[in-house]
Each structure stands twice: as C-alpha cells, then as structure tokens.
C-alpha cells in the first residue's frame, strides 16, 4: 500500500522574502503551459496573408471563428470583445489539464489555480451587475423577491465561484486519484499473478500496459476538454445574465 502516492503540488523552491513565498509545481507547470500557448499563438499567426493562406492560418481562423460564434450565441453581440478572454480560459484550462497526459502534475489539479479563475469571473459578474443596476440596485437585488430571502441570495451569490471551482477541481482530481489507484492495483495484481516469473521479468508490472491508456482517454482527454468547455460556458452564461434587467 505504500506505493499509492496522492499528494498535492510539490514545493520546488521557497523564496526567502515575506516569510517565504513558495514556488510549487503548479506555478512552474502553469508557466510552461502559458509559454506553450504563447508559442502556439506565435506559430499560428505568423505571416498571415489575405490570399494564398497557409494551413496554420486556416487553423487560427477556425479557432477565432468558433469562439466568436460561441460568444455571440451565449452572451450577445455587445460582448464580442470578451471572445479573447473566453478563448484564453478555454485554452489555458484544456492545456493545463492535458499536461497530465505526459505525466506532469496538471495545474488544474490544484484548487488554487481554479479558485483564481473563479474569483476573476466572480469579480466580472459583480462588476457587470453593479454597472447595470447601479450600486444601490445591486444591493437591493439581494432582498428580492422578499426580504426574508436575503441570506439565501447571499449564499447563492457566494456559491457561484465555489461551485465553479469545485466542479473543475473535483473532476480533474478524481481522474488523478483513479489513475493512481488503478496503477497501484495493477502493480499488486501483477506481482501476485506474475511474481513467480524468474529474474527481472517477475518485477515488471506487465498488467500496467494497456488498461491505464484506455482510462486516461476518458479521465484525462474527455474530462479535460469537457471541463474547459463547461467552465467557459458557465463564465459566458453568468456574465451574460448579469447584464440582463428584468
């Protein structure tokens, strides 16, 4: 049972200022993901032409078109400047989760990463609510439909970022935990079944070949893309709803 290792991000380095700022795997991997996306953007948008377009440009145009369509359908024409923001959330979330495929620690398996994004989205929602209704109108919206509902309204307001955070975090972490359990389980099963084989052959966990790959298609690829899409979708819906006046 000692080979099951489910831990959070490892602390790689502690900067000795302000009582020690910790640089964890999360930060390092996030920066790697950001650098990857930056390089991808540079490659895709390099040397754009009006005629005789390259394949790279077609891909870039397809991405921009799809995200613009998504934002137009869910938030309306006036929110088109938000398309890059939504695209950034989609790309960052999907790429962060997909780093689990190469065995790295996915930054989205850390609660802090997604909590940061959720707080950003929550600030945007609150900003647009205040902008639409005015500050007093925003405060008054908590007492609707009757004054007794105020605590519930406050709770549901706080619940928005929390539920967004835990939905994304829980899905990614459940994948990580199940992968770890399956690996450990297959290792012990193969020592039981194949341990009698002579020499090194008995020590290699042969049963670990195959099954984890199938599981990782669901838990890593499908869940990652799904959660990225859902996070972006909820962002759009919440911000879009914030500007609606009854």
């Amino acid at each position: 049972m000692d080979n099951i290792n489910i831990t959070g991000a490892k602390i790689l380095y502690t900067i000795p200022v302000l009582g020690g700022i910790r640089i964890t795997e999360t930060q390092v991997n996030s920066w790697i993901v950001i650098a990857l996306l930056f390089v991808l953007c540079l490659v895709l948008t390099h040397g754009m032409k009006v005629r005789g377009t390259s394949k790279r440009q077609v891909v870039a145009e397809w991405i921009v078109e799809q995200v613009t369509k998504l934002v137009r359908e869910n938030m309306g024409e006036s929110f088109l400047p938000y398309a890059p923001f939504i695209c950034a959330i989609l790309g960052l979330s999907a790429t962060s989760s997909l780093t689990a495929l190469v065995g790295a620690y996915p930054p989205t398996a850390d609660l802090n990463t997604i909590a940061g994004w959720s707080i950003l989205v929550f600030s945007l929602i609150t900003f647009y609510k205040i902008k639409t209704n005015g500050f007093l109108g925003y405060l008054k919206s908590y007492t609707e439909p009757i004054k007794i509902f105020t605590p519930f309204n406050v709770l549901s307001e706080i619940g928005t970022p929390i539920s967004m955070t835990f939905r994304h975090f829980g899905n990614i972490v459940s994948g990580v935990v199940i992968s770890a359990l399956v690996y450990a389980g297959l290792a012990s099963v193969s020592t039981l079944l194949l341990g009698w084989l002579p020499g090194l052959l008995g020590k290699i966990p042969l049963l670990q070949v195959g099954l984890p790959a199938v599981l990782s298609i669901y838990f890593d690829v499908f869940t990652s893309l799904m959660q990225a899409f859902i996070f972006a979708m909820l962002t759009m819906l919440y911000i879009g709803n914030a500007v609606k006046t009854d």
Binding site: F166, R167, G170, N171, V173, S174, M226, Q227, M233
Partner: protein, 99 residues
C-alpha cells in the same frame, strides 16, 4: 513501568484510532453522494434518447445540451467526492495534531 503512563499512552493510541476510523467512515459516507448524480444523469440521458428518437434531426443540439446538463448535475457528486478526499487526506493529521 508506571501504570498511569501506560494508561495515558493507551488512551492516546485509542484516540488516534478513533479519529482515523471516524475519518474513514465519514469519507465512505460522503461518497454516497454519488448516487444522486448517477440517477439524475441516467434520467437526463434517457430523456435525451427519447428526444432524439422523436426528432432525429436535432441530434447534435440535444447531445451537446445533455452533456452540458450532465456536467452540471455532477456537481453534487463532486462535492461529496471532495469532502471524502478532505476527510481521507487532510482531516486525520489535522485532528491528531489537536490531541
């Protein structure tokens, strides 16, 4: 050895064992939350199949809406899972430290 010291040590070990057992049982109970989303998602998928059967041309839209709804319905199960995870990994050390 002084019997009071032995008694105290036994009490400490018993308290630790109780904490570990309580956390494990709590984690198991928290994962019962998985039943709800299971039933709910099954119902949603069944309804989506009905809708596709009635109007096969709406297949794409129905499927994407269903997946979106399933992912949101999953939230309560995820809460249970996170609670279980906290009870398994964080709570034992937290409570044992307080002894």
């Amino acid at each position: 050895m002084d019997p009071t010291v032995v008694n105290e040590a036994t009490a400490l070990i018993n308290a630790k064992a109780t904490i570990m057992a309580g956390c494990a049982v709590g984690a198991g109970l928290a994962l019962i939350a998985g039943i709800g989303p299971g039933i709910g998602e099954g119902y949603a998928v069944g309804k989506a199949c009905e809708a596709i059967g009635r109007q096969p041309e709406c297949r794409g839209q129905v499927t994407s809406t269903m997946i979106m709804g399933c992912a949101i319905a999953e939230t309560t199960g995820i809460y249970g899972f996170v609670t279980g995870l906290l009870l398994m990994l964080l709570a034992p050390s937290l409570f044992i430290k307080r002894l």
